[in-house]
Subunit: 460 residues, 2 copies
């Protein structure tokens, strides 16, 4: 389907171009060599331009794919030749860091890391932290309800959004850019768009709340042989350190060994890693006090034989090294050919057995080469990177089945933080009931009756 | 409009009765002498019975008003003679406190305080705290997205809901009772029902997340002459005490003086209260350390002349007394004849001037007798109790206008935590834009096309 007057639209939005020209001249975030398949690319500079684009597309049945920082992992930004890409990258202003209301207001295309830095300049803190923060744009961060390393203490992105401006699929602007911590004046519409992966509207601006910046950071690596000890240690650390405990992450032994193997840039700070390696982060304000408390918690865990070894880090450089071991997912991906990345949620007391059983079943499947489990154990969110012999559809499906099938019975989730996109859509019914999926469809149809915005994501 | 076969429905839901019989035999929460006006009252005992009721009502165009603990302040539970009341009070089981996933699952009719107590028995903590917790039911708490005394640190009710079961107006059960901290599997539908005041569905069960129970509590009362010093002190306390600062509340001088006047049960712990009296709560685990830090923060504020006096409380009984001064709203209401209660949100840096101006304008209005401002200053949420000569509609409207009109320009809210209900509906347009209100209506129409559930609340 082609619309002869799409050029009029593209002309109207200053700076918009067709895909082939866009890549070289305007499209800074398009990093892969592969050309972008689409009908054209728009680079709106204002909310009104986003509204103009969507009004036109709604009227002319033109399907639209929204692009932020392209860091999603579920195929959510794939486009095809009859779809128009709307990239928010030119709407990247950080409009205000307000030290009185302790909020930051940013346009959707602002890079998360720039927002974090702007806040920190005013001794304020937005605790969102994940690997892609250097390229993820806040519009996408909100639309994905991104998680990361500190959810356990600080919650997902949703917990930090005070205000939102969204353009609906028909071009209507829903503006609610308040800096209020409390607002119960009717249905809280912004909640509908947070984590909706852009299928209900295009996020154009965000107000995040901020907190006081912690003044000190400490880290530790612990190891233990049994999963039940991981949970025991976690609860004790949480009781003993209180809200200063901000990260409690886990690598299974083979994942840890792969990252700290001789040929990698990383050296294990633990002599003899046991079955589980725990990464602890502690944010506070008094380094001596925090350090004593952290060491006390480790000593207590050691005495009770919950852990078999521990290493502490207080210098910034040491901690950076330590957390790279946890965060260098790219190294795992290099190691695991034709890999698939999973991102599941499991009720926390069931993690040990469920992951053991998934790993065992994967290893028994012909074609699977590597299985690397790791993740946010304190949130019940475990990632798996699975390497395999080839990219055949049947092998992929068999692996998906092994990973996803146990989740329905235990009320887990097929996506803790990455979202559904296109890739996980066939498995959504394992996480959500039929009435839930029907309601999602009804809401989509209400807001986007012509199904023009990010079509075929999450639901059909 | 009458349905001859409503008795069949009432028979089907065991224990349901007509209103006149209900009051004496089953309706424990109906405390006022005034009879309940309605067609009948249902007391469902299961989610399926709620579904049966709504299916029947949807089919037969029977309007339904949902009753929880009847603690709302916005007329949300008023019924008229052709409406059927559905009271959740028999669905009051606390189904599970899970120490592994650190969650509590409760039926909608469970009293909040019972849920808090059940959690505390397992050394776990749900930080929701407000005056009505001894009678508010969790279904209503969720439907109102209740706030209270610790929102500043811990967020509103929304922040604590992990799972929800809701019956839609047509009887469909939406079950999502997960204990997961992270679940990005599609649109997060439960967010739609939190704070929607029951117009989109009846909440039947809730899963709350819990945290470790703090082991110590300290309180202080401070006083200062200038509003800017309130904010300065707050930020310093927040920096100095970190996440242990869990409450920072404010009484304007005349409110404080009224509560601590000679004829009341309360004695001011401060010799000479200045224009503003601040109440501080600190939750931690080491009473000596916390006490030193709290006193340091006060000393620092005193040296910088941000505050003019301070009193500390460490014993449980002293603290109880101290917080009663902050919480005895009933005493203010007794003092203020024909009173109206307001609950507004203001960007935090504007609170001082806006409240001054509202109070001045109210005092200049003939018929206004008393104005008592107080509230959650750290959240930007100020309550006003206004006493007046009579209940005439025009006086009420004039007072509403004075309180609400300044809010639109400064992007405030006419309801920080109480909700809109019936009483604040005429003013919703001051807090929300026209497209927002249109979208609320569209969502209501989608879920409740026959407008049977809690009709005329929030929007028409």
């Amino acid at each position: 389907m082609s619309h002869p007057n799409i050029n009029e639209l593209l002309d109207q939005i200053q700076g918009s171009l067709h895909a082939d020209q866009a890549k070289s001249r305007f499209f800074h975030i398009w990093k892969t060599e592969e050309p972008l398949t689409c009908k054209g690319v728009c680079f709106p500079r204002t909310t009104e331009q986003v509204a103009t684009i969507l009004t036109w597309c709604h009227k002319n049945d033109q399907k639209v794919i929204v692009h932020g920082g392209l860091t999603n992992l579920v195929g959510a930004t794939k486009a095809n030749p009859d779809q128009l890409v709307v990239s928010l990258e030119k709407m990247n202003a950080i409009e205000a860091v307000d030290t009185q209301t302790r909020t930051v207001t940013a346009q959707a295309g602002a890079i998360l890391e720039n927002v974090l830095t702007a806040a920190e300049k005013e001794d304020l803190f937005l605790p969102l932290s994940f690997g892609a923060k250097g390229s993820a744009q806040v519009g996408g961060v909100v639309s994905t309800n991104a998680g990361g390393l500190r959810v356990f203490r600080y919650g997902m992105t949703r917990s930090w959004v005070l205000g939102l401006e969204v353009v609906l699929p028909d071009g209507t602007i829903i503006e609610n850019l308040k800096t209020l911590r409390k607002d119960n004046s009717g249905i809280d519409l912004k909640q509908l768009f947070i984590g909706a992966e852009g299928i209900l509207g295009v996020v154009t601006k965000v107000v995040f709340r901020l907190i006081e910046k912690p003044q000190t950071r400490l880290s530790a690596i612990l190891t233990t042989n049994q999963f039940k000890n991981v949970l025991q240690t976690m609860r004790y650390f949480d009781q003993h350190l209180g809200p200063r405990l901000t990260g409690f992450e886990l690598l299974w032994k083979n994942t840890y060994s792969t990252i700290t193997a001789e040929e990698t840039p990383y050296k294990s700070p633990i002599q003899k890693p046991d079955n589980y390696v725990i990464f602890v982060e502690m944010l506070g304000k008094n380094v001596e006090r925090d350090s004593n408390d952290l060491q006390d918690a480790c000593a207590h865990s050691f005495e009770h034989e919950w852990i078999s070894d521990a290493a502490f880090f207080d210098s910034a450089s040491e901690q950076e090294e330590c957390w790279k071991i946890r965060e260098d997912v790219a190294l795992l991906e290099q190691n695991a050919k034709h890999n698939q990345h999973y991102d599941i949620s499991i009720p926390i007391d069931r993690i040990g057995e469920i992951i053991d059983s998934i790993v065992q079943n994967l290893k028994n499947l012909k074609g699977v080469l590597d299985v690397y489990p790791f993740g946010h154990v304190a949130d019940g969110n475990i990632h798996l990177i699975v390497g395999k012999e080839n990219n055949s559809e049947i092998l992929t499906q068999n692996i998906n089945d092994i990973v996803y099938q146990p989740l329905q019975e235990i009320k887990g989730s097929i996506s803790a933080e990455h979202g559904i996109g296109i890739d996980k859509k066939p498995y959504l019914h394992l996480s959500r009931t039929k009435p839930e999926m029907e309601l999602m469809k009804a809401i989509k149809l209400l807001l986007d009756p012509k199904n023009i915005l990010n079509p075929a994501r999450i639901i059909n």
